[in-house]
Symmetry: C2
Subunit: 154 residues, 2 copies
Amino acid sequence: MTELKAAEGNSDLESLIGYNLKRAYVIVQEDFRKTLGEGGLSPRSFAALSLVISSPKITQSALARALGVERSGMVAIIDDLQHRELLERAGVPGDKRAQALLPTANGKRIYKAALAAVAKHEEKLFGVFNNEEQALLVDLLRRFREARGNGVEN
Amino acid sequence: MTELKAAEGNSDLESLIGYNLKRAYVIVQEDFRKTLGEGGLSPRSFAALSLVISSPKITQSALARALGVERSGMVAIIDDLQHRELLERAGVPGDKRAQALLPTANGKRIYKAALAAVAKHEEKLFGVFNNEEQALLVDLLRRFREARGNGVEN
DNA sequence: TATTGTTATACTCTATAACTATA
DNA sequence: TATAGTTATAGAGTATAACAATA
C-alpha cells in the first residue's frame, strides 16, 4: 500500500463530493493550462471568449452574470482579450453605459484552434470514461448547477 | 428564456467537463464556507485536519503529498491549525527533520462537529440527486483522480 | 545527494467598496 | 434610484526558489 493510499484510505474526505470535485478540477485546470501553453488563453479567458462568440454583442455585466463572477472582475479579463485583439468593445446604441462585446476575426480563429486543443485535452483526460459515463458526468454537474441557480445570488 | 440561458445555450462551454466541474465546485466551496461560518475551518484546513485525525503522526510532507499541494504551502495551514490548538507538531524519534502531526482532544471534537455540519451541507446541496446518483458522482470523480495519479507529479 | 521544514516572494483569482456616467 | 463600467484594494490560495538541518 502506498503512502498516499495509507493516508487517504480511512479518511472521511474520500466520500465527500466537494473534496472530490476540487481534486478533479485541479487536475483538469492544470492540464488545460499545459494544453494552451505559455501565453495561451487561461480557463477564464477561454470561457469569456466562448460566450462572446456564441452571444455576440453581450455586455460585460451580462457576461459576468453568465460566468458567475463579479462584474468588477470582468474588466481585467476583457482588457486582456482586447489587448490580444481577440475581441472589441463596441458602443451600444441607446445605452451609453454599456459595452457590447464583439469577437474579432482573429478572435474567432484563435478560439476555434483553442477549442480543438481543449477538446483533445478532455478526450485524453476523460478517456478513462466511456462515452456514456462522460455524458453522465456532464449531465450530473449541469443538473446540479441548474438546481442551485447557477451559483449566482441574484 | 432568461438572460443566462440565452448566453449559455449555444455555448461550447456547457459540454466541457472542466467548465462544469469548476462551476460546480465554486457553488460547493461557497456553501462550505457559509456552513462553517466566520472563523470556521476553511476547506483546506478541514481536509488537513481530517487526514491528521485518520492518519495520526503523519508528517507535513506526507500530508502535502496526500492533499496534492506543495509542502511549502502546508506550513501556513498547519500553523493555523496549531494556533487554533486543533493539532500539535511532535518530534519524530529517529528523524530530527520531520514533524509528526497529532490531533489534540479539542481538534477531534471540533472536527467531529465540523464533519457533521459538512455532511448536512452536502445532503442539502446534493439533495437534487438520489443516493445512487450521489454514489455514482463520487465514484466517477474518484476513478478520474486515481487514473490521473492523484494529480501529483511525483 | 536527497529530504524535511521553513521563509521569502510573487502571481493568479476573486471579492468588496466606492466612484462616474448614464438610465 | 438603479445599472454599466471602472478603479483601488485586499485577501485567499498556491507555486518557485532558496536555505539550514538532518538523513
